[in-house]
């Protein structure tokens, strides 16, 4: 696949050079399979095979881009896309800076993250997994929902500057299974991310669902009082906050535009708890990490927050050109951030529930539909979802209705942070809105914060 894509791009490169065009040429290919479940049935079983070309023409302080979705062999249409970018370029208004054309110094191909057995799992394999993960958990009221997205993504990019390319191929699966009560309107879930077939573990999914099911069937449901509470966030919720932190805290362009919690003078300052170390780079297992960026720069793993100290901002080439900064090797389809684990040897919900405690703890595995109330304050609002539990200080467990928090990132990862689990896990953050692009964050399995303010408390499920 990658070879065919590169040959196609080399042919287009020749075509562009014949027209004295400076351009970056990229091909994306996805073969996706998504099985959706609702009310115990498969509600949709879909496959998509889509090829996308992007041509960005570069000129004197200007760029223009033409994109095309077509077949991989539609070379004539692709040449027309090159022509289109070339025709648009003179009409682009001049920028205040010179955009940098990629000049890839050597070929870089990475297929270590591709497992054909996962990418081509097929309907039978997906349904076998689902059957194992849900075995014995459903009944007349409790039915299974969810989605199993699996597939392969291939990417190849080069420019007219050199004949070298950067290419990669990844397999990935993103699985969410939901057990829902039609009668009581509650939902619990389990999620898994996979990069190879060996990562699939339906029994772990079943264990998690079974534990939560037992709690939700047997424990008292309660409405929480408004006000401060100690919260232990699960991996999904922690990943949600980390995702915001990676942008509102570390993105150089956001900082320059006033959409960051930091300013340039914060570099070298302790801005978050000393427990917070955030890295980004290729040494991030399970997070679909890429060794080389689209400019051919080899990437290393760096701590951007080091024990709470901000070490710098992330600059892709475009932002670096615009703001006269040095690019940091982040012209990528996706980043691979990791919040390093802490020292608390409590690494799953069962252990948390069994651990002694001197105050009530609200376990929040997942945050639904969060919103940025104020980017410069890092103020995020969101609602708990999917299997929250109230772990009473006397050892009892209750099932709370969902609650809303509106908290600042600098508090979540700063003064309100009590502890992080000693083990981390990967949380899949892939979106299926556009073209397939597997992404994930590595986060501690649990994160405990104090004084989280409950501002809305639902009266029912």
């Amino acid at each position: 696949m990658l070879q065919q894509m590169k040959e196609t791009l080399l042919a287009l490169r020749e075509y562009a050079l014949e027209r004295n065009l400076q351009a970056q040429l990229s091909l994306h290919r996805e073969d996706s399979h998504l099985t959706r479940l609702a009310n115990g049935s498969v509600s949709l079983n879909t496959t998509e095979s889509v090829t996308s070309l992007s041509v960005t023409a570069y000129g004197d302080r200007r760029t223009a881009t033409a994109t095309l979705v077509c077949g991989l062999k539609d070379l004539d249409m692709m040449r027309q896309a090159v022509d289109r970018a070339a025709a648009m370029l003179p009409h682009a208004s001049r920028l205040s800076f010179q955009p940098t054309l990629p000049s890839i110094p050597a070929d870089s191909t990475c297929e270590t993250g591709y497992d054909a057995a996962l990418a081509q799992l097929g309907s039978a394999g997906i349904l076998d997994y689902i059957s194992d993960a849900a075995a014995g958990l459903e009944d007349e009221d409790l039915t299974l929902g969810g989605s199993f997205s699996v597939g392969g993504t291939a990417w190849c990019t080069l420019s007219t500057a050199t004949p070298h390319s950067v290419s990669w191929r990844l397999s990935d699966a993103q699985i969410t299974l939901v057990l829902a009560s039609a009668k009581n309107k509650w939902e619990i879930n389990a999620e898994q991310s996979a990069q190879s077939l060996d990562d699939l573990d339906p029994k772990a999914m079943r264990r998690h669902l079974a534990f939560l099911k037992e709690q939700y069937l047997t424990r008292e449901a309660v409405r929480l009082p408004l006000g401060p509470v100690r919260v232990v966030f699960g991996a999904a919720a922690t990943a949600e906050y980390l995702s915001y932190l990676s942008y509102l805290g570390l993105d150089g362009s956001a900082m320059k535009q006033g959409n960051s919690i930091h300013r340039e003078e914060d570099i070298g300052q302790r801005t978050l708890s000393h427990k917070i170390t955030v890295t980004e780079g290729p040494d991030c297992p399970g997070a679909f990490a890429l060794p080389t960026d689209d400019f051919g720069r080899s990437r290393g793993t760096a701590a951007w927050y080091d024990k709470g100290v901000l070490r710098g901002f992330i600059w892709d080439q475009g932002a670096a050109d615009e703001y006269a900064q040095t690019p940091t090797g982040h012209n990528l389809a996706h980043h691979s951030f990791a919040l390093q684990p802490g020292d608390m040897a409590v690494n799953d919900l069962q252990a948390l529930a069994a651990a002694p405690r001197d105050t009530d703890i609200l376990y929040v595995p997942y945050l639904h539909y969060t919103g940025v109330v104020s980017p410069s304050e890092g103020l995020i609002t969101g609602t708990s979802r999917f299997g929250a539990l109230l772990l009473k200080k006397d050892g009892a467990i209750q099932v709370p209705y969902n609650v809303r928090f509106t908290e600042k990132l600098e508090d979540i990862f700063g003064g309100k942070l009590l502890w992080l689990s000693s083990e981390s896990t990967v949380y899949n953050t892939s979106s299926t809105y556009g073209s397939r692009n597997p992404s994930a964050l590595r986060v501690p399995r649990l994160m405990c914060c104090d004084q989280i303010n409950v501002e809305i408390s639902n009266k029912s499920y």
Partner: protein, 484 residues
């Protein structure tokens, strides 16, 4: 080029399929221009073609899509295989509600196709508006223009043949500055429906310059203002936030697939139960809401949905009582079965897919609040003892069953004893959906009513972004929690 869509559909019937349809997009052209602080950072044009096949086999759906027109037969076979695999785990075979079979064509109203406007003219327009935004107090300026032209052919095994050609144009302006505490404040503008067509003819530079001047004035008022109080008071929602309130807490919770649990794993469910239809008091008797896909000139009007059902105008809430839902052929039969009666008389014609590579889902059309009888904004203010007028959709967050919400706004000013008072910054309000609509105290008349466009409503797995509209008046709600 002619493609064998009907032959391939007939082959599926011969192989045991009970129904199938294909959507073929021979051409989709799009463009995006992004200018930030005077720099044209994105200047892109896109082309797309492909097809998607949906097959119903023994009551189970299969779908396959491809951008490769050399793989038509293989893709149809894949869709059937996917349906056959689905049948292995199926507790309730899908039945589609009856429909009238149509042969038809729909073209959205457009005088000047944006794709035919010279690039220089488009860029010059952005530059002119950017100049208008470049004023004291403004630290960041953003202008975004997205256009789209899609031709879709629809065929199904029942004999329908529908061609749709829909053109969209979505301009957007945004500015930011820093207040005295160093926090970012912003003001944005996306035009509502501006007439009976929506092509390049709506891009009147004078009009956008006027909007730019208003945005700059309001931003500077906000930058100098004290913080919004945190208390309980009446909120008067302008159409540019009322539309989002309706979108998130009436539109989404009344999608029948959500109510039936089809979105639980991702987008969420709904607090509405099937037993609520015809009985639930959603709001005060001032609240009447409809799903009107026949409205003139809106992205939520499309002629025929992607089930091939003709667009309709259906009541959702009548005088405060829940009476209808956003429905498709599949969901109404399931809902009626579960209700034990034929409450839904047929598809509401709202099955829409965002592209050839996605399957149709229940999507909003134009979910609109009927205008009321409480006059103008000034009339409403005059009758408000302690309130705040809120404008702009700065942020939004909604509970998973749409039972509660938190919205932040760009611009607001206080109202006391029927008088406008000072502007405040960092405005936000929150509440619970049913108590909120049951506190609806005043609904502005036709003079306050306008159709807001939504270019980016997200839903589904695989995820889809859809365009739609909301006709909304100025509304006042009492006893609402205000403040971040």
């Amino acid at each position: 080029m002619t493609h064998p869509w009907k032959e391939e559909l007939n082959k599926l019937l011969l192989q045991g399929a009970s129904y199938a349809d294909v959507r073929y997009t021979p051409r989709e052209d799009s463009a995006a221009l992004v200018m930030r602080n005077g720099n044209l950072l994105a200047f892109s044009a896109g082309g797309e073609r492909g097809f998607g096949v949906r097959v119903l086999y023994q009551g189970a759906w299969g779908f396959a899509a491809s951008s490769d027109l050399g793989s038509i037969t293989a893709t149809f076979a894949r869709a059937l295989d996917n349906a056959k695999s689905t049948a292995r785990r199926l507790s309730r075979p899908i039945r589609l509600a009856d429909k009238q079979v149509h042969t038809g064509r729909f073209t959205s109203p457009c005088l000047v196709d944006p794709a035919q406007v010279p690039y220089d003219e488009q860029v010059a327009f952005l530059r002119r508006v950017d100049t208008a935004l470049q004023q004291t107090g403004v630290e960041q300026r953003m202008i975004f223009l997205r256009t789209q032209s899609r031709l879709t052919e629809y065929y199904d095994t029942q004999g329908a043949q529908i061609v749709k050609e829909i053109r969209e144009i979505f301009p957007y302006l945004g500015i930011q500055g820093r207040d005295g505490d160093g926090e970012t404040q912003s003001r944005r503008y996306s035009p509502p429906r501006l007439g009976s067509t929506r092509g390049w003819e709506i891009m009147q530079a004078d009009f956008f310059e006027e909007q730019a001047a208003r945005m700059v004035r309001e931003l500077n008022e906000t930058l100098a203002a004290p913080k919004c109080p945190s208390d309980v008071r009446s909120v008067i929602l302008m159409p540019d936030i009322m539309y989002l309130q309706v979108h998130e807490t009436i539109g989404h919770p009344l999608e029948l697939d959500r109510i039936l649990g089809y979105e639980l794993s991702y987008a969420g469910g709904s607090f509405v139960r099937l037993s609520d239809f015809g009985a639930l008091r959603y709001g005060t008797d001032k609240l009447t809401v409809r799903a009107d896909a026949t409205m003139e000139n809106s992205p939520g009007s499309f002629g025929y949905d992607d089930d091939g059902v003709e667009a309709q105008n259906n009541l959702l809430i009548k005088d405060g009582i829940l009476v209808g839902a956003i429905t498709s052929r599949q969901m109404v039969t399931e809902a009626n079965d579960k209700m034990g009666r034929e409450y839904f008389k047929g598809s509401g014609g709202t099955a829409r897919a965002s592209s050839f590579r996605r399957t149709p889902l229940e999507r909003m059309t134009n979910i609109s609040v009927d205008p009321g009888t409480d006059g103008t904004l000034e009339d409403i203010i005059a009758k408000t003892e302690k309130g705040i007028v809120l404008s702009g959709d700065k942020s939004w967050s909604i509970g998973s069953n749409r039972e509660q919400f938190h919205f932040a706004n760009h611009y607001g000013y206080l109202v006391e004893d029927g008088q406008k008072k000072g502007v405040v910054r960092s405005c936000a309000y929150s509440g619970e959906t049913l108590p909120f609509y049951n506190s609806l105290a005043m609904v502005g008349d036709e003079r306050t009513w306008q159709v807001e466009f939504v270019p980016n409503c997200g839903k589904g797995m695989p995820s889809q972004t859809m365009q739609l509209g909301h006709g909304v008046p100025v509304c006042r709600f009492d006893n609402v929690k205000v403040g971040e």
